[in-house]
Structure formats: structure tokens, C-alpha cells
Symmetry: none
Subunit: 130 residues, 4 copies
DNA sequence: GTGGTCTAGACCACC
DNA sequence: GTGGTCTAGACCACG
């Protein structure tokens, strides 16, 4: 079962998109694999403190992207192959980093300052995997 | 006068927030300084191709944060001291990087992989300042 | 025994309502009469390929309308008098036709056009009873 | 402006579908024509006593069917040609009448009884056009 | 004022 | 218990 332990919704971006991102990151990291079951709509909604419909929307969009399979009355499952994992990985790197790099450059940081700051932040954060 | 040359609205986040962010980044980078004048609402709205109300909203929120001063019938000016600049800098670093680092770690990257990727992206992107 | 031969669930309306309607139509047509036995929940659920709970719900609602009588451990039977049949008939005519007539008038048809179209459709459709 | 004077939501079928149907019927009858403006989301929602979102859903689906055109900040307009009107007409006749005829036959009515009842109902109902 | 989107809660059919 | 759908209300960008 995919874990939502370290997940906490942030303001500003839609919650359902954050849920999608969380699952995609898990897929890229390898912690979420084909055949894994997703938490049911109700379980996850109470766990995250949001409306079941928000979960529903996230799962629905993931199904449209052919990452999960849902059938009425049964649990939803991860359905991916290696090709898909590679595609998601490229997609996430693009969206995650491109904007951050632009922001840092606009703030006047040099490449060296940037990597230094990132290195220091890397140590701070609670790490599941180093 | 603050430059909005490299500003281009992105979908998904409110434009007025993007304007606020743009100005804050300028402050942190040093390209926007105390005493600088902001473009009038009318000028900026035509320049960016957005509604004057959207500009109004951004300026109003900046004023509430005590970063600019507006007087009826006159231009708005940047009003900041060193203390404020440092605060904005911390605030932006926090919001920009914290999430990205968490995302990269969650995707299973090591610190070395992360800095390497960022370095390579640094070269690619069109740069106003290196 | 009530026949469900020509019954085929339609999407969009709850199945239990369609079952209720099917039985009511049978009552009005005279093919379903007082004293007739209903198929057991288990038999009908497998016959229609739906969940036993759905059948249970339909039977329960029919019982609340005093159209059938159920006793624990025994079959359910149709329990109606002439008065009831007349009531059901009026009820069904009302719901079936009132809306259709309003729709046809709203589409700008004349009474003659309407009856002509209905006559032609009458021939087309597969008929169990003419 | 398209009229919703004689519109009153019925239980059992989704309200947004009833709204779609109402507009389509108007198109078929000729009372709704290309270029006509639709009531705004708020106006219609208060008029019908439903949530603005329900109107939104109806309009959105009509737009997907290329019957109306919506642009942010501007009113929505009917956009149809003769070809489309004919298509809608066929579609409505099909869905409106097919089910009713099946129901009437199942209730044991003859063709003559059916047309007689429809004729009598035709007189009763409040008519905008005879 | 307009339409677009997100979150919310209830109800349904199904297993 | 599961997922699917409808209605609801608030917020946003835009003209």
C-alpha cells in the first residue's frame, strides 16, 4: 500500500494535484510499483482531512493518464510498465526543476550559491532515503 | 523603474500572485531598490495584457505587506529597509526550495544527482544574469 | 410468476426503480395479477445480473406501497385490489405521458404530427403484445 | 434571450440534463436561434433555485457538443447551423418517444388507445403553441 | 457583471 | 466496504 505518511497539503496549489504529484513521485522513486493498491477514497480523505471528492478527482485523472485502474466496488490499483515510469520521471523533473532554477537565477544567485544552498537543505530535511 | 521584461504569466497560479512574486524576486536580487517607482496600474495592465483590477490587487497586497507605498494621484514607490530585504529573501528561499528539495528526495535522488541536474539546467535556461 | 424476459436495465436511472416500474407496468397491463408470486431475491439477482441488495431494495419499496406482501422465509406475493390497479394505472400514465406531451409541444409539433409519429413508432418497435 | 418560464425541474433526472434538454427543445422548435444569448450562470441559477454550478455543468456540456460558445468574462451564445438543428431534432425524437412507446405497449395499450390519450392530454396542458 | 475551477457532502449501484 | 455522480458554495481572472 502506497504511503501518505509524509504528505501534507500546501496552500496555493490544488490538493488533488498535490495528491497526483505525490503518487507520481512515489512511482519515480520506486516506492510505488505496479499492482500496488491505493487507499480507498474514504480512508485517504479522512487521513488527509479533505473531502472524498477531492481524492476522487485525483484518482480519476490518474486513471485518464492510464497510471491506475479503478472498477466500481473494487479497490484501485497501480497499472504501469517501465516505459510509463520513464515518461513520468522526465515529466516530473521538467516541471519540478525548471521553474525553481528560473526563480533562483532571477533572485541573483550564482550556480555555486544555488548548489550550496540545496546541499545544506538536503541535510536538514527529514529523509526517508539519502 | 522596475522591469517586467522577462515576465510571462503562467497558467495555474493567479496572475496577481505572480506579479507579487516577480517584484519580491527583484528585491532579493537587488535589481529593485528602495525608492524605485512602480509602473502605473494602467501602463502595467496594457504591458502585461491583463486587467487593471489584477494589477490593483497585486499592488494592494504589496502595500499591506508594507513593501510599497501608494498615495492617491501619485505613483507608487518601493519602501524597504535592509531588514525587510533579508526577510523577503528568507521567505522566498523557503517557498521556492523547500518543496523542490522534498520532491527530489521523494523521487529517490541522491544529493549529488540533484546538484548535478541543477547545474546542467543552469546552463540551458536563458539567463538575464549569470 | 412475473416474467422478466423483456427486462433490460438502462443506464441513468437506478436499477431498483426500473424493477419497480417493470412490475407496476405488468400490473397495469394485466399480465401481473393479485396472488402472483415474485421471483426470490436470489433468483432474480442472478437472472438480471445485479446485486441481491438491489432486488431487496425494490421489493422493500413495493412492500411499503402495499403492492406486495413479504413474509420471512416465504415467497413474496402480489397483493392488490381493483382500486389499487386503477391508482397505479393513473400514476404511470401521468409520469410516462405528461412529460412526453410537454416535450413534443415544446418542440413545436402539432397534435396531428405527434400522433402520426407515435403511430409509426408503434409499428417499428418489437412488440410482445399488440 | 431564451426563456425558462415554463421550466420546472423534475425529480429523478439530473437537473443539468433537464436544462440541456430544455435548450435543445427550444432549438428544435425554432424559439431558440443562432446568436441568441443565454442567461448568465447566476441569473439562471437564482431563477431556477439551483446552484450556479449546476448551470455551469449544463453549459459546459452544451459547449462540448458545439451548440453554444462560452468565453470568460462574456456571455454565452447559441452557435448552430441548419445541419446541427436537424441532428438535434432526430436525437430528441429518438430519446423522447422510443421509451414512452415501449412503456405504453408494455402497459397493454393498443395504438388507438395511445393516440387517443395523447390527444386528450394535448388539450389539457398549458400550450404556448398549438 | 461574465465564465472557470476547487472543495464539499450526500446519494447511488455494486462487491 | 468500494468507486461513480449530482448538487452545493466559494474563490479566481477577466471585461
Amino acid at each position: 500500500m502506497i504511503s501518505f505518511e509524509h504528505f501534507q497539503p500546501q496552500d496555493g496549489t490544488p490538493i488533488y494535484q498535490q495528491i497526483i504529484l505525490h503518487i507520481k513521485r512515489g512511482i519515480v522513486s520506486g516506492s510505488v510499483m505496479a499492482g500496488d493498491a491505493l487507499p480507498s477514497r474514504r480512508v485517504l480523505s479522512t487521513l488527509l482531512g479533505v473531502n472524498p471528492n477531492t481524492i476522487q478527482k485525483a484518482y480519476h485523472l490518474l486513471e485518464e493518464e492510464h497510471l491506475i485502474a479503478s472498477h466500481a466496488g473494487a479497490k484501485s490499483y497501480i497499472v504501469i510498465d517501465n516505459e510509463t515510469v520513464a515518461r513520468i520521471r522526465r515529466q516530473l523533473m521538467e516541471t519540478e526543476l525548471r521553474g525553481t532554477v528560473r526563480a533562483l537565477k532571477q533572485m541573483g544567485l550564482s550556480k555555486e550559491e544555488a548548489t550550496t544552498i540545496i546541499s545544506s537543505l538536503w541535510e536538514e530535511a527529514p529523509s526517508s532515503q539519502t
